[in-house]
Amino acid sequence: MRSTRCALAVAAILAAATLAPAQTPVDQTWPAAKNALVEIQNPAGSVTIKAWDRLEVTVKGTLGKGAEKLEFSGDRLRLHLTAKAPSHERPPESDLVVNVPAGGRVQVTGLSTRIDVAGVAGPVSTQTIDGGVTVSGAAEVEVKTVNGPVEVTGTKKRVQVNAVNGDATVKGGSGTVHASTVDGTVVVSGTALESVRLNSVQGSVRFEGRLPAGASLHAHSVGGTVTLAIPASNGVDYTVGTMSGTIKNDLSDAAPKETIARKELSFSTSGGGATVQVDTLSGTVHLVKP
């Protein structure tokens, strides 16, 4: 009988341990200035940032099993939040939903962290190795990612995306876009961008849309394909060169001039106005009709 009771007690303890919450809930609020800088470090899991009209920063969500705490430092002008994790282990996954003042500035750093930012008017900066990144509606965006996909939409002034092998998409907006990849895919689309710079080592880069008069697009690639889908009705001066790659031109009858070391193609559509310069070592350049 006693052994049966002992066995039941042990089983109960084990069951309780199994049913104990693996994650710790978080629900905290701090006062913040309307243009507060909010810095968030979460090594794994997700960070979802939403803008609101209150002068507060709230964090709701769960800290992953093994996470030590959500650490706060700073003041209402600069708030620094860290999901603390043991430094020498694979970090636990914490999922945080953060509300920030709409005029705030945001900086998120992660390792294996999905990052979503929506509606923040100030500059947004993210760095992560794994996990996707989406940012919409910010004035300025800077994204550094290694493996994760990136999608940036509707940025008003400046986008800089440094991807390595994740796919990156930049849609719409105005101002400047600088996007680079090592061996992923970069697609930029828009009709009001003033300056576009696309760089690739071995990945493919693509622009689709229109360029306003006076705008410029520079694309450089070593071995990756550069594809431009700009309508012939858009006034553009093209200068395209490659050493050992191929130039395919669907926009006009102009053919590349070949020398021993290089192929070059220069022509204009609809009287010119915007500038396109493309240069590759061995990558294909394809000027396609949209």
Binding site: I129, D183, L281
Partner: protein, 204 residues
């Protein structure tokens, strides 16, 4: 960035850059690095070329020998890594400073065309390779922080860069003075350093 450091921007733009630096650690690090480089370049006698082999100094700063990895891991100082990258380009910057050519860095923080054009691609290859090796040695100590699939993808991208570098080198052997190829080699090298720096930084 260099115009900002030199105080050449108009007040509005200067303030805009200052605000951006306040929230962007990457750019802030570039700014600090540029200020250090400019200070170093100013300190160089204008008539003296910088030493060709930068590796001894690099190695001293990084402790980049296999037996010292644990020490490196403990003592790793991001400033040291920035200094490594700084050393790679210090010669070029010194040349830039002497001639006061504008824009040593492009807005995305890579070396500007004027500097890179004066920068013999293949001759700089060894220095970059050694800097890469130092970053890789540190990365090796931090691999456990990455998921296996992530490690594999990072390795694949580094291989893609190495293949690109090989392709550019092959062309450069045929046309060593081609400015476009030299720029491309420097640019891809810079990209590799940026990738390594990002991974090392985020896994620290």
């Amino acid at each position: 960035m260099d115009d900002y450091v030199d105080g050449l921007l108009d007040d509005g733009l200067q303030e805009e850059v200052r605000r951006h630096l306040a929230i962007c650690p990457a750019c802030a690090e570039k700014e600090r690095g540029l200020r250090r480089l400019v200070a170093d370049a100013r300190a160089l006698p204008r008539a003296m070329a910088p030493p060709r082999d930068l590796w001894p100094s690099l190695a001293r700063r990084l402790g980049a020998t296999p037996g010292k990895r644990r020490w490196m891991e403990r003592a790793w100082d991001w400033g040291g890594l920035a200094a490594a990258a700084s050393l790679v380009v210090i010669g070029a910057l010194a040349a830039w400073w002497s001639s006061r050519q504008p824009a040593p860095f492009t807005p995305d923080g890579t070396l500007g065309a004027a500097v890179r054009a004066s920068y013999a691609g293949l001759a700089a290859d060894d220095e970059y390779e050694r800097a890469d090796a130092a970053f890789l040695a540190v990365l090796e100590t931090r691999r456990g922080r990455l998921r296996p699939a992530s490690r594999a993808r990072v390795d694949a991208s580094l291989r893609a860069i190495d293949e690109a570098l090989d392709a550019i080198r092959a062309e450069l052997r045929e046309r060593p003075s081609d400015p476009g190829l030299n720029l491309m080699l420097a640019s891809v090298h810079q990209r590799k350093v940026d990738v390594l720096r990002t991974v090392v930084s985020l896994t620290s």
